[in-house]
Every structure is written in C-alpha cells, then in structure tokens.
C-alpha cells in the first residue's frame, strides 16, 4: 500500500518533469529559430516604417501595404528569402520606391507599423520625410569617379541636387577634363533607390541600405565649436576636473625598468 503511493507519486513527478522538459526543449529551439529569423537587418522597408525591432513587433504581415503599392515595388518576404518572414520590403535594383505624394502604402497599414506621423508635415503626408535607407557610392566602381561622364543616378534622384549632387573636380590625368562625382547627402536622402535602379554598371555602384547600418555615431563628447547651436550644449555642461599625480621617478628610470619582463 505504502509502496503504491510512493510509485504513484514518483510517476506523477516524472510526468511533470517530462512535460516541463518538453516545454523547455521546444521553447529553446523555437526561440533560437525566431531569434535567427529576425536577425537580417538588410531589408529596405516601406516609407514610414517604425525603426529597428519595433517594426517587427508591430507588423502583422497582412500585406495590405503591398496591395496598396501601385508600382508593385513592395513584396512580402516568403520562406527562403532570408528576410523576416511575411514582412514587406523592396529591392530597388528591381523596382525602386517611386515616392507617390499620397503614399498609399502607409494609410493601408492597420497596425501602425507604418507610422503616418513620421511621414507627415503639419498633418499632411510628405513623402520627402520618408527614411527607407541611405544611398552609398562605391567610388572604386563608379565610372563617374573614373572620369567618364555618366550622372545617371543624379538624373534619377527625385530629390536632385539635395540628396544627390554633383561635385566638380579637375581630372589631372587628362589635364583638360572634369570629374562629375555623385555625392549623397544623407540629410535629404529618402532611400527610395531610384539611383540604384538607374546605375549603369553591371552591379550597381550606388546602393541603398538601411540608415542604421550605414551611418556612424559621433557620441556626445565632440562639439562643433563653429556651430552656435551645438555650442549651446556646453552651457549646461558641468566641469569635471581630473588630476594625475606627477611621477616621482626620473625619466631615465623608465629605460631601466623592464616591468617584470626579465623575471622568469
């Protein structure tokens, strides 16, 4: 009788342990998979998309932005494309974003993953505020940097002369020609990808990538002394004094001190 109860208890505990073990096993594999599945940050998102992880959290993968896009620019990632599954993205080399003034993809979003506010000025939709990415130029393979006249990307840019301008430079090699170098200003670039679409080289020498991948960050400790607005940051700064005590040793001693290197 006593033994039976003991066995019952053991059976119960073992079943419990098995179930908990199975759940942990499944949960670990599942979370490892999802973690990998959301790792790719290279995809270019529709205009107004929330930044970083927030977009993946909020997008329900319904594809209504894709259906609203009149140019078939947007696609939903299908399994095997190695882009977080079911999320909208576009490949500008194939089809860029043509920057519709009424941005039909954004109001179509039911969850707010495409944020109207972020692409509006004074309550009106403004596609020029879109930040889908930033164009970068490969100067080694851009033929304009070789001295061949091209300016295909410059002509294609919908924010011409602001987001993409030409810098004139003297071609020392020939002595009588000019370089017309395309330069991107990330402050104005919307990442629409018209430049990448238009680029004449076999593999585009100007490409668009998400801003957070392309741009550096200075940090707060550099101040532009020539910029009044930036200087103002110093007004609230507090002084931090650090003192390094003067060494007692003679300078020549440092040559004799091997710092324990010769001890064996």
């Amino acid at each position: 009788m006593k033994n039976d109860a003991g066995n019952d208890r053991r059976k119960f505990l073992l079943t419990m342990a098995r179930d908990v073990g199975l759940l942990a096993f499944g949960g670990l594999i599942w979370s490892a998979y999802v973690d990998e599945a959301v790792a790719n940050k290279l995809a270019l998102r529709p205009p107004g998309a929330l930044k970083g992880k927030d977009f993946l959290t909020t997008c329900i993968k319904c594809g209504m932005c894709v259906e609203a896009c009149p140019y078939d620019t947007l696609k939903l990632a299908s399994p095997g494309e190695n882009i977080p599954i079911g999320t909208p993205y576009f490949e500008p080399r194939e089809t860029p974003c043509y920057m519709c003034p009424d941005i039909p993809c954004v109001p179509a979003c039911p969850t707010g993953a495409l944020d109207k506010e972020s692409v509006s000025t004074d309550g009106k939709l403004d596609i020029y505020k879109a930040d889908m990415g930033v164009a970068i130029v490969d100067e080694k393979n851009c033929i304009a940097f070789w001295g061949i006249q091209c300016d295909a990307c410059y002509r294609a840019c919908p924010v011409m002369d602001k987001a993409l301008y030409l810098e004139y430079d003297k071609n020392e090699r020939t002595g009588k020609h000019a370089f017309l170098k395309p330069i991107v200003d990330p402050d104005y670039c919307t990442g629409c990808g018209m430049c990448e679409h238009a680029c004449v080289t076999e593999k585009p020498a100007i490409i668009v990538r998400p801003r957070e991948l392309v741009m550096g960050e200075v940090g707060t400790h550099y101040v532009k002394g020539w910029d009044k607005k930036d200087e103002q940051r110093l007004e609230s700064a507090k002084e931090i004094k650090t003192v390094t005590p003067r060494s007692e040793k003679k300078a020549v001693d440092t040559l004799n001190d091997m710092g324990g290197l010769l001890d064996d």
């Binding site: 999802v34 993946l56 329900i60 993968k61 696609k75 095997g80 039911p110 969850t111």
Partner: protein, 271 residues
Amino acid sequence: MIKHKYMILRRLTQVGLLVLYFGANAWGWKVLIGNLSASKFLEKIPLADPYAVLQMSVAGAALASDVIIGAIIITVLYALIGGRAFCSWVCPINMVTDAANWLRRKLRMNQVAKKPPVYRDARYWILALSLILSYLLGVAAFEFVSPISMVHRGIVFGLGFGWAAALSVFLFDLFILKNGWCGYVCPLGGFYSTIGRFSLIRVTHDAEKCTECMHCKEVCPEHQVLHMIGKESLPVLSGECTNCARCIEVCNDDALNFHIRSFAKQSKKEK
C-alpha cells in the same frame, strides 16, 4: 440531402476565401484585402487574427485601433458560430490535414497505429509557450513559424518555400500522428477552442436513433468530443469540436444534427 453537403460547402468557403484574397492582390478586387492575419472587408470593416494581435500586444507593440477593432469583430464572430469553425471552414491547412487523414484511412494506417503518447492538451501548453516567447523575444513568436500564415500568405503573395511548411504538416499527420497538427499541436486551434467554448451552433446527438456504428468517431478529427455517442442524448459542448459536420454526413441514422444551443434546456438536463 446530398451526401457530403457540408464537405462541399466547407471546400467552397475555404477555396472561395482564398480566391477573394488572391483576387485582391492579383486583380485589385475590393471584397477581402489582406490575408488571414489582418484584412479589410469591402474596404470598410477591419478584420484581424485575434491570436496574432494577442501575441503582438504581449510582445509590446503599440497597436493602432484598426487592428484591435478587427480582432474584436473576429473574436465575437467565432464566439457565436463556434471557435473552431475557423479550423474546418476557413483555414487552408485543413485541406492538407484532411488529405493526410483521408490517405491514412485508405491505407488502413489507423488499424496499426498505436495509441499516441501525447495529450490533446499539448496545444494549450504550446499556446501558453507562444505567449511567453512573444514576451521574451519581443515579436509574435507563432507568426514566425505558423504554417497556416506561410501557406495562406504564400498563396496570396507568393509561396517561396512555403510549400515545405504544408508538406511537413502533411507528412506529420500521415506518418507520425493521426490529426497530429490540428488535434494536438496547433496553438491557433487551441486559441479558438477557448473562444468557442460557449458558442451557439452545436452538433447534437440523439442516442435513441443511434445504432452505435461508430462511423462518426472514425471520421471525427477530435473524437474525444463525441464521448456521448450511443450513450446519452447530448449536444457536443467541447470547444474542441470544429463544427466540420463530418459526423452528421457519415451518420446513416440521423442521430447527429446541428442545433442552436439552448442554455435553458441544458441546465435542466444537468439537474
């Protein structure tokens, strides 16, 4: 009555919905735009998968009102007509698992199959797990692995390797576990079982007409809900019943039929 009346109706709804969604993307139809995760009905009424919305809110998404209203509409709809009516009347995976089940019967695999070592309750644990993982990972965890969305989205927007998801479910149901995906694993089914607990449309059994041929239990994908067959005249009350009406179709004795649930009658019987 036409034999397989409900089966034909179910296939028509399943395929019809797919065609409507497909037409919206391919030819600009305006009836149902989007997919099963979220859509717009007639350009006005928002609809949304309440389970996906639940995962997203657990994951920490600040959701717009459209998708919340949509989730409420769908929840109320299925709470009335039977939660798992989604499973047998809408879900595209149902055709895959039904095919596997049909093949199992044709190959007489059920005769040699052993009693499964897992419980039907597993889906509720997976449901709970999906919410915990959504919270920890900050994204809707099931939406990244769901073969349902992969297949449905795939048919509307381009399949990619989505066929592999459907094939996995088919092989799992065919060789590993009878009704394995829908009856044991799928947390969406578990979610709709919970919602449909008090739904109005119910299959009701008449024990006096029953000849105990057990055809109904053979075809039922959730045969545990038919525990009253041949014993008592009771409605099928479990939320796990998918209202697929296969049991009604195979019954030669008219002992099973749809009824509107009457809460008054039931409480009398319980006394």
